[in-house]
Amino acid sequence: MRWIAEVHVQLRPGIADPEGLTIAGGLRALGFASVSDVRSGKLLRVSFEADEVDQARSQVEAMCRRLLANPVMETATWELRADDEPSEEARLA
């Protein structure tokens, strides 16, 4: 069956994130004075096939470990869900 993993990759806590600091400054400049911190990151939405949920989980873990995040500087968290929407091909057919 098809699965969708939404993988969030962020710099490890404590590593300076100049992009987040700049965005925080922008928000404060707009009047959101209470903003104390922004951490930037990226969202990767991975669609893939796996027979059952444990297999899907271990695949996502392996993807994160081998490529999607560099453990020297990043952490990855993810959410997994079954993709029960019709595929693009099926929808267009």
Partner: protein, 243 residues
Amino acid sequence: MSPPRIAVVVFPGTWSDRDFLDVAPLVGWDARPVWHAERELGGVDAVVLPGGFAHGDYLRTGAIARFSPIMPAIESFAASGGAVLGSCNGFQVLCEAGMLPGALLRNDHLEFRCDWQWLRVEAPASCPAWLGQIADGQPIRLPISHGEGRYYADEATLSQLEATQRVVLRYAEADGRVTSDANPNGSLHGIAGITNGRGNVLGLMPHPERAAEAEVGGSDGRLILRSLTTWLAEQPVAAERRL
């Protein structure tokens, strides 16, 4: 003696390969490009990973390039003591591949920085293949050209790099003083270049190949490139490694 054979690795998006190939004759190299999809280096004396934006630097700098078919050959070449240089994007690839510790992050000011930069060479004996012809503490001037050059490693790794004299290039003033003002990207400890424990792999953010001719504004890069030529001539194993 025939000139040493140098592989200049080309990934999709590499941009400094032609500069390395262009200046190779000036420093006594017989250099040839090696496409990333090849699986063998083809009997060379040293390997250069040039700057650029391999695979668009998508995901992270060097993240896709490190899985190129040619990388296992480069890793085993380095493991056998072969000299490997990674400049700019090449340094980022070496870090992603785990051949050097740490990582290169987005510059602290978020800008791409293209400029001439003074550097202090430290402990050149830690990396004789690439720095053997440079004096300890000598200031050299090379171009930098990067948006992601902020060297980062955790405290334990930094301490180990410092204790073992593997930080061999630091951003500095013209007189060689390392100051925060001279640091162009927020690198921890002002680190511009490091070597591995064995001293045969050098990663640096600056571009020695862009400073090998006085006509382009400086020739200090030749000190690094010629160090290799001299070092190779002194290595009895270099000729054997080709076989």
